[in-house]
């Protein structure tokens, strides 16, 4: 027990001296994910704000292929991009401080698969739903998003094993990977009147959303309502206003 405590203390002091920098932009759930992981691991870092409409020299040179945020700089090591890769890295350099991925290989595989689903299907559906003007496509996307939420509800029931989070008693990988979209989900409700997570359809997820939202770690990483509103205004500003859609004030 002493040894484990020692290990943790050594790693925490390492975390504090970590020389981490995170390049991100406001409103990006992928950046929020990494901030979450850094917070849980007690890693001090410098946050560098990127303006995606006007990309910086730093972003273009550190992530030339993709030019996307987040990018993690750890001391003088090679810059790292892709939120999921960054999270696995942080989990591996500080394995004893608030482990993020579950320990069981089968649960890890299921978690990684759901993360893959979120990033390749679910998030793109939500984004497209926000931006598409074709009402038929919007209806189809709504259906896919609703079906998806039921799949996530099932996954939550299986992985949480009766506890408050996907990670069990503590926030874990999927809590971060899905939870980073809670701001968007909230605003979907306000702007489109569409509840991605619904108390009747997804009772456990709805409860999870409340637990996560009120968690002390979350409040310091999820952007404020105002930031989300501005982010959506920016996204929606790329399209001329639709006659039947409320323009956020």
């Amino acid at each position: 027990m002493h040894q484990l405590l020692n290990h943790c203390l050594i790693q925490i002091s390492m975390a504090k001296k970590c020389e981490m920098k995170l390049l991100g932009s406001v409103g990006s759930p992928f950046v929020t994910r990494v901030k979450f992981a850094l917070k849980l691991k007690s890693i001090d870092y410098e946050y560098i704000q990127e303006d995606l409409a006007n990309k910086s020299e730093l972003l273009l040179t550190s992530n030339p292929g993709l030019q996307k945020v987040p990018v993690l700089f750890h001391a003088n090591k090679q810059p790292m991009s892709e939120s999921l890769i960054i999270i696995e890295y942080l989990d591996e350099i500080l394995p004893d401080v608030h482990p993020i991925l579950p320990s069981n290989p089968s649960d890890r595989a299921q978690s990684r698969f759901l993360a893959y689903y979120i990033d390749t299907l679910y998030c793109p559906w939500m984004k497209e739903f926000m931006l598409t003007r074709e009402s038929e496509r919007k209806e189809e996307l709504k259906r896919l998003i609703i079906e998806g939420s039921m799949m996530l509800e099932e996954a939550f029931v299986k992985l949480s094993k009766g506890k408050a989070f996907f990670g069990g008693d503590e926030i874990g990988f999927l809590d971060i990977v899905v939870g980073c979209f809670l701001g968007w989900i909230k605003f979907f409700g306000i702007i489109f009147g569409f509840n991605v997570i619904d108390e009747t359809r997804n009772p456990r997820l709805a409860q999870w959303g409340k637990s996560l939202w009120s968690h002390e770690a979350t409040r310091s990483v999820i952007p404020s309502d105002e930031i989300h509103m501005n982010f959506f205004k920016m996204l929606l500003g790329f399209l001329p206003p639709m006659p039947d859609m409320p323009i956020p004030a």
Partner: protein, 234 residues
């Protein structure tokens, strides 16, 4: 010898993503049952095991939930048999870098093969060939970095990127022949070319690389089920 008759792999011989998993199963000496899937007429088992994407490969291990997605399967196998021919390197930074390149290979490089097949006009095809060549040059650089003078991306023996990239060699040869150009050649990508010869002859890998006839059958099926796009009139 990791005997485990409880491991089943749903797949098809022509899929490089399935071959990748087979590489790892062979390297780790894991016995498994191969369930051959006809992608033109998907089985109940596949649809039940991977309802979201309906794709191969899917790994079934005893009564655990099925695992789709080749890269996720590989990490799982590496975690349940960590001491038998480790696939991913041990250093976290190198692991992250390996995963980044796997992402590049799967999302930027390999999709070009299919794009080449579906692009109808010569001009369009030339543009994609150019992208493939650019991609191969990046992979040559990556090989030099990771191999550090040794024979494989993984160093002295086959590792993660050897498996992740090596599974495409059958299709690479096929596409090169079919389109009369070289993706990997001795002038632009000399180290990579040498590496491909080692992969083709590696004891644990060579039997899983599909031969031309298998690929031709699969190619014909793709031509029918997902035909090339119509040429736009100039």
């Amino acid at each position: 010898m990791a005997k485990n008759s409880e491991i089943k792999l749903i797949g098809t011989a022509a899929s490089p993503f399935v071959n990748r998993v087979q590489f790892v199963l062979h390297l780790k000496s894991i016995e498994y049952e191969f369930i051959d899937e006809n992608l033109a007429s998907k089985s109940e088992l596949l649809l039940k095991s991977n309802p979201v994407y309906k794709k191969v490969p899917v790994l079934l291990h005893a009564n655990k939930p099925p695992i789709p997605e080749s890269l996720i399967i590989i990490e799982y196998l590496d975690e349940i048999y960590p001491d038998i021919h480790p696939i991913l390197p041990s250093d976290p930074l190198v692991r992250a870098d390996n995963r980044f390149w796997a992402n590049f290979i799967d999302n930027k490089f390999f999709p070009l093969f299919e794009e080449l097949r579906r692009t109808p006009e010569k001009e369009g095809k030339e543009a994609i060939k150019k992208q493939l060549i650019e991609g191969s040059k990046l992979l040559e650089e990556a090989f030099v970095k990771f191999s550090n003078g040794k024979a494989y991306f993984g160093g002295d023996d086959v590792g993660y990127l050897d498996v992740v990239l090596g599974c495409f060699l059958g299709w690479t040869k096929f596409v090169e022949k079919h389109n009369e150009f070289k993706i990997i050649d001795e002038v632009r990508t000399p180290k990579l070319l040498e590496w491909t010869k080692r992969i083709w002859s590696h004891e644990a890998l060579k039997d899983a690389i599909p031969r031309n006839e298998t690929l031709m059958d699969f190619y014909m099926m793709l031509q029918i089920n997902r035909p090339p796009r119509k040429a736009t009139s100039s």
